[in-house]
Every structure is written in C-alpha cells, then in structure tokens.
C-alpha cells in the first residue's frame, strides 16, 4: 500500500467546537499527524461536551445534540463519548497541557519546534493573550504556518464578537434566505453551516500554505474570517443585490430563479418508532419525502410520462417553463397527490430512469442502508475503547492511489500523552511523572 498523502506533516490542533476541527479531520483522514492540544483545567464549551456532563437519567430528555452517547449512557468519561464530537475526532492524537502555566507553554513551544502548522479557531485575541500568537510561534519555528479562524477576523468593529456558527452566520445574510417562504423566520431550525463551510476552506488554505512553503521555504500567517468565507457561498445572492438592488428573501424549497416544479413532496408513510424511551417528538411521524427538481421541458416530459400522463398536466397553466413557475401552488398539489401514494425510493428510481432529477429525503437509517453508499464502501467500521464498535461516515473524497481511511478511533482526552511527551518531545520518565502530578498530563478533567 502506498503512503498517505500528508505523511510526515505534523499539525498542532488548538481548535474548539466544529469549524477548525472539521478542517483538521480532513487533514487527519489523509495522513497528517494531528496533535490536539487540550487542557485538563479548562473545559471549552461545546468541544467535548455541551459544557455540562448530564447524569444518565437526564439524557433521554436532552435535545438531539446532548443525548447522543452510546446507549444513552454518558459513562465514566462522558467527554469521550458524545457523537457530536466523536464524529470528527477520528485519526487525531490528543495530548494535554495547561497553556496558562509556564510549564505548559514550554511544552507547547517544544511541540511547535517540531511541527509544520498550527490551526486554531478560538475567539480573536485568545492565542495572543496566551502569548502564543504568530509572532511568538514564528520566532520559535521560523517557517511555521498558522491558520487562525475567528468568526469575523482580526480587525473591524465585530472582531471581538463571540458566538457559535449559528449566531455568527446571522450577520452574513446566509440565514435570511433559508426556511419556509410562508412561515415566520422563527420556525427555522438553527444550523451551523458557517462551520461546515469553513472546514474545507481552512483545509484548502492550509494546503496552499504548504505548497507555498515547499516552493519558497517560507511559512506564514493566514487570517481566516469565517463570516467572509461564508458570504462567498451566497455570491449570486450578493450580486443580485449589488447589480439590481434586490434583497432576496427565502424561496422556501422552491428554486430562487426559474425552475419548476422544484420542491419536497410527501410520500407513502412508513410508520415506526425507533426508541420509545427517548423524547423525540417526530419519531412517530410518517416522515417520508421526495425532492423533485425540473429544470427544462425534457425533464418535465419525463415527469409526465412517469406520472402516467395525467390530464391536469396538459392544462395551459403548465404548458411551459414560465407558466409552471408561476402556477407552482397548484402544480405542487397535483404532484404531491401522485407522490403521496408511492414509496420515496420508488419515485426516485422511476424518475431518474426518465432523466428527471429526484432524490429521497434520507434519514439516518436510510443512509446506512443505501445501496449506492454500500457499493462505494462509504461507511467504515471502527472500534473505540470506551465506545464499542460502530459504523462511521468515511472519507469525504476518494483518491485513486492514496485513499485515506479511519485508522484510529475517536481520540480520547489525553490518550496520546505518552506518545507526544515521551516519543516526540523526549520527556524523561521522571519529568513525565512530574507533569502528571502538576496536572498537565492526564485523561480526566480536573474537578469533574
């Protein structure tokens, strides 16, 4: 087997929550050695927990993020068990040091000296206040690459604003164009797309800096303002405003500009309840849907054929692209009347066979059972200590000669202290014991 693409690249991970951790997952999956630097004294909010460790009896009433421990059991070390973080902890290493004390800083310095890159997404100024800004790091390691990704960048009136992806996104305009078109914005489900969009872009920035270092021998500092990256993901909407003065609202599930029918239609129910012991309101629901998007006349004809050429489809109201776009309320009713009697996969395949873009709205179970994903070997089985054996979402893209894989289960707090301190930093057994005693090194948070 060939080497992994990023073999030999060591990245220090001072990340929190989801954005930079997602980028680091991508780098880890393809072979970089990611060293998460964590602290036993400081539990960063929403990084290994939701900021609190619930007692077992409370778990079933928590929301979707808080309850997802293996078998709904927080266990002895709940910080190693929550799905929201374990989903991106694979292939990473974790060591612990208290960066607020001199000894922790000294160890961090020694780690920087043997690393290629530092990636962090703390609030602006946090690293500088710790005395670990780029100026300091680059004195220790002149060709170090540092990617800092606060929400709003290092300058400007909001540079000190704090938030999670979902609140920071609000300022970008991204939230304005989501949700139902005929319900109040309050019905919108919160989303942290900011973090999702930042992941690949931070990874791209990091790779670019490596390429540059390869060419010139120079490292650098990259300022990554997450909000500005996200605005790029609605570039067309921005241009509608700057060219035409139009402030787009949400089109709901409809196409913002021209295609119709374009929507989400109810399918035949498949009633079930998976966990009767869990408070999850919609588990009873017959939550089966198909998305259909018709862009042109050919696809419309295909849809008509699959529906059995119903009479209503020949109405003048639906005779061309424009009239279909204008009469969508009625059009959608007709289509849903047809889909609601059918299984979502049945509609999916019969429409695709006629060249009509369509796709079932998958739930988590559907994804694991999906024949296409099985055929591509997308999910990978991983056994973790303190976790058991489960399937995990696999590689984000496939490389024909150097495919990545999940080689290491979701990393536990401090799991790789021995490797990092003894093998990488050359710390003696005595010093290691001393660091343990001083609570730099350990696998349990202090005071939990």
């Amino acid at each position: 087997m060939s080497e992994l693409p990023l073999k030999g690249i060591r990245v220090i991970d001072v990340s929190v929550v989801w954005a930079a951790p997602y980028a680091l997952q991508l780098l880890a999956d393809y072979g970089a050695e990611i060293i998460k630097v964590e602290s036993l004294q400081y539990i960063p909010p929403t990084t290994r927990s939701l900021g609190f460790f619930p007692p077992k009896e409370m778990v079933p009433i928590l929301g979707a993020l808080g309850r997802s421990f293996p078998d709904l059991d927080p266990g002895k070390r709940p910080w190693n068990r929550l799905s929201a973080f374990n989903c991106h902890f694979r292939n990473k290493h974790s060591c612990t040091m208290d960066l607020r004390r001199p000894k922790g800083k000294e160890m961090f310095k020694r780690l920087v000296e043997i690393s290629d890159m530092v990636i962090e997404n703390n609030a602006a100024g946090v690293m500088d206040r710790l005395g670990l800004g780029y100026e300091v790091l680059s004195e220790w390691k002149p060709d170090i690459i540092m990617v800092s990704s606060p929400g709003f960048g290092k300058s400007g009136p909001y540079s000190n604003y704090v938030g999670f992806g979902n609140s920071m996104m609000a300022l970008t305009g991204f939230n304005w164009i989501r949700g139902y078109r005929d319900s109040a914005p309050e019905t919108t489900t919160t989303s942290v797309w900011l973090d999702s969009a930042s992941g690949p872009a931070i990874a791209f920035a990091a790779m670019m800096a490596l390429h540059h270092r390869d060419n010139t021998g120079r490292g650098q500092f990259i300022e990554f303002a997450q909000a500005e990256n996200l605005i790029n993901h609605i570039g067309d909407v921005v241009l509608d405003y700057t060219m035409n003065g139009r402030v787009q609202g949400t089109p709901g599930n409809r196409h913002p500009y021209s295609a119709a029918p374009y929507g989400c239609y109810r399918c035949k129910p498949e009633s079930r309840k998976v966990r009767p012991d869990v408070f999850a309101p919609n588990q009873y629901a017959d939550d089966q849907w198909i998305n259909i998007s018709v862009f042109n006349e050919k696809q419309w004809q295909g849809l008509c054929r699959v529906m059995g050429n119903p009479e209503w489809a020949h109405d003048k109201k639906f005779s061309d692209v424009l009239s279909r776009y204008q009469n969508q309320d009625e059009l959608d009713k007709h289509i849903e009347e047809w889909t609601s009697k059918l299984d979502k996969y049945e509609v999916f395949h019969s429409l695709q066979k006629e060249g009509v873009p369509a796709g079932p709205v998958l739930d988590d179970k559907d994804a694991y059972n999906d024949p296409h994903l099985k055929d591509r070997g997308f999910f990978e089985e991983v056994t973790g200590p303190e976790l058991g054996t489960h399937l995990y979402p696999g590689m984000t893209w496939k490389m024909s000669k150097t495919p990545g894989s999940i080689r290491k289960p979701p990393v536990r707090l401090g799991e790789d202290n021995e490797y990092v301190y003894k093998t990488l930093l050359g710390v003696s057994a005595e010093e290691y014991a001393e660091l343990e005693k001083e609570q730099h090194i350990g696998m349990d948070y202090v005071g939990v």
Binding site: P5, Q25, P45, D236, N282, V361, L373, P393
Partner: protein
C-alpha cells in the same frame, strides 16, 4: 506585489454550472493560471443563470457566471469533434491539473478518461466532481442543490414537525461541493509534488455532505450510538435557554445561548432575581417559564440593541442581516471585504472578496470573468502555435 501561492500552477478547467466553477475559482483567485473551456456558441450553462445585470438575460451579463469565473481565461472548444479532442490533448500536455464536473460517463466516452490523459502527461492530476461519485448505482443520476440537501445533508431535520422538511440557503450544497473539491485538488497536487504519485480524485457531492459537521456527522453517529433517527424538532436547544431565531422590534436575532453562558445571560438581561428563580439551568421543566422571560426581552428591543447588550455580556446572540445589510455592514466594509470588479459588458459590479487572507501571498482580482472565447487567440495562437487562418477554419468547422 507578492507572488501568489498558486502562481506556478496550471489548470485546465472543464467545469460548468456551479460546483466545479467554484472549485476552480478558488484556485484562480489564489493565483493559478486557469484556462476555462466552454462549448462553442452557448458556453457554460451558468451564462443563462439569474441574476442578470438589470434583469436583462444576456450570455455576458449573468451575475452568477461572472462571480464564479473571475480570474480565469476562457476559450471555446467542441470536445465532441475529433479536432477538438486533439487540441484538448495538446493543452493537457502543459498543465498540472484537469478539473471537470461532467456526468461520470462523459470523459471516457470522449476518449478523455484520466488513463488516456495520463499517457499524454504523466504528471497530470485530475479532479472529477459529480453528484454521486464516479462509481456506484447512482453514478448516472441527476441532481440539484435541493436533491443533494435531501440525500447528503440534514434536510429531513430542518423545519417544523408539522410541515415538510426545509432546505438550506441558496445553492449552499453546490458551493460546498466546489469548496471541498478545491481542498481535495490541493491535496492531490501535494501528493504529486511530495511523493511523485499522480492520481484521480473522485468528489461525490453527496458524500461531501455526509461528513458535514453541520449536524450531519453528529446525527449519523447518533443513530449508531443510540439508535435515534433525527427528525424535525421544535426549538433545538441544549437546555432551557431559547436557541434559534427570535423577533425584535425591527427584525430578527439568532440566539446560541447555552447553559454555560447562564451567568452571562443574567448580566445581559439585567432582570433581578433570575438566579433565584432558575437555580438549576438544566431543569427542563422550567423551559416555558424561561422562554416567557427571554423571548419578550428580545421583542422589546431593536436587533442592534440586543446584539450590543449580548456582546457586552459575552453571550452568543447576533442580529440577522439580510444579504443587502451584509453588503452595507460597517464591519465588512471596514475590512474592505467587498471588492469592485470591472467587466467589459457589465461595468463595475461589487462582489464578495477573499474567503481568507494569507499574509505572504494575497487573494488578488487579476481579471474579470472571460467573455465567451475571449482568450482563443491568446491560447491557440500564442501558446499552441496555431495561425489566425487555422482559427478561422476551426471556427467554421464548429471546433472553437
């Protein structure tokens, strides 16, 4: 001016529509020499996408196309003709990367599969972006932003339980596909330069979203860990503090306050006795009572006032900007984020600027999106050595 990070990288760009062009836009914006190939006559279908300048449909006035194709050079070439394929192979000789997002059968059918191209240029890497990947039973299936949201992302969980699932913003699924493909392409380039291994990258937009951090990875793993299928729920929250979108006097705010922030939330609200009324912030039975305190507090203030009070107390709440507000926002303007692009047919159009700012080698707007076939003579004559007469002939034959 500093050399850009990718100034030494040459890309042959066969992408069209949205996801592929966003990938090559990122490469071009950071310095790569990207030659975009379009079909003669009509060009990239994105030239027909709204929004148009002054709502006037015109192949050189699509804002969508313009935005996605800055910094690229553009040529026309009909790959369905033998001469077109021959010229394409001449171009391949001199590049590092080919990026394409055709349906997976197209390139092999044209005799331009990665294996064929590698015979001409052994140092070539190729990124193939597609809806569902290069292999598997859905490889020929069609998709859209809406369908990728349903099959790859968490659409099922967005919206309210009494209604249909609700898609995410705009064409986010497609932009993200392109964003991811750019990272994958850089990785392929690195692997070539570092290890001498050249290969093809298979980016399935569906799979890009299945690893997404925005709840997707969490929910997929939650099913494995606890057998829970995620559906739409009212008011996703970490406890009893209200999260999500709420009304104010003059618009909306988005709240991301969590139990850890409770002491700071008390400071923000400036309401006496709160600590006594809610001694246990994890007590779910107090959810309604808490909402009755906080939601009216939002409603009695302007969105800016809420934002400022929240930020002063370091709680996670911010106002909702419309896309227009974002363009006018003092923060992004103080940072000079939006830039003006001068285009020969469209005049000056303000656009989003750098997604990130490397200190060594900046994001630079070097040229606006190409007119259809704008760089034909530059590429075919100056680079490949065809004569002006050859170009006339090729045009007559429908090759360019």
């Amino acid at each position: 001016m500093a050399e850009q990070a990718l100034s030494d990288v040459k890309v042959l760009d066969l992408t069209w529509q949205i996801a592929g062009p966003y990938c090559t836009k990122l490469l071009a914006d950071y310095g790569a020499d990207v030659i975009k190939i379009e079909r003669p006559g009509t060009g990239d279908p994105a030239r027909t996408y709204s929004p148009f300048l002054h709502d006037e449909p015109h192949p050189e006035k699509s804002g969508y196309f313009m935005y996605l194709n800055n910094n690229k050079r553009g040529i026309t070439l009909n790959l369905k003709t033998k001469s077109g394929q021959k010229i394409f192979k001449e171009l391949v000789k001199d590049v590092d990367i080919v990026v394409e997002n055709f349906s997976p059968r197209v390139m092999p059918r044209l005799g331009l599969s990665y294996e064929e191209l590698k015979k001409i240029n052994p140092n070539l890497v190729m990124t193939s972006i597609s809806n569902f990947g290069q292999t598997g039973p859905y490889r020929d299936y069609k998709a859209s932003n809406l369908i990728e949201d349903a099959m790859g992302h968490t659409m099922l969980t967005r919206g309210t339980p009494d209604r249909e699932p609700s898609k995410s913003s705009g064409d986010a699924m497609l932009y993200q596909g392109g964003n991811m493909a750019a990272a994958a392409t850089m990785l392929a380039l690195w692997t070539r330069d570092d290890q001498g291994i050249c290969q093809q990258i298979d980016v399935s937009i569906m799979e890009v979203h299945l690893t997404s951090i925005d709840f997707r990875g969490t929910y997929l793993l939650s099913y494995q860990y606890a057998g829970i299928i995620a559906h739409r729920e009212y008011g996703l929250s970490f406890g009893i503090l209200p999260m999500g979108v709420f009304n104010t006097i003059d618009g909306f705010i988005e709240s991301a306050i969590t139990p850890v922030q409770w002491p700071r939330v008390i400071q923000m609200l400036e309401i006496p006795d709160l600590a006594e009324r809610f001694p246990n912030i994890l007590d779910m039975s107090k959810k309604e009572e808490m909402e009755a305190v906080i939601i009216p507090w939002f409603f009695e203030r302007t969105k800016r006032e809420v934002t400022e009070k929240a930020q002063k107390a370091k709680t996670y709440i911010m106002e909702e900007n419309t896309p227009g507000d974002a363009v006018e926002d003092p923060h992004f303007n103080a940072r000079g984020f939006f830039i003006e692009v001068n285009h020969p047919e469209m005049g000056t159009v303000k656009q989003p600027g750098p997604p990130f700012r490397p200190t060594e080698n900046p994001w630079v707007l070097r040229r606006p999106a190409p007119l259809l076939g704008q760089h034909n003579s530059e590429v075919y004559c100056d680079q490949l050595g065809y004569s002006k007469q050859d170009l006339v002939k090729l045009r007559e034959l429908g090759v360019i």
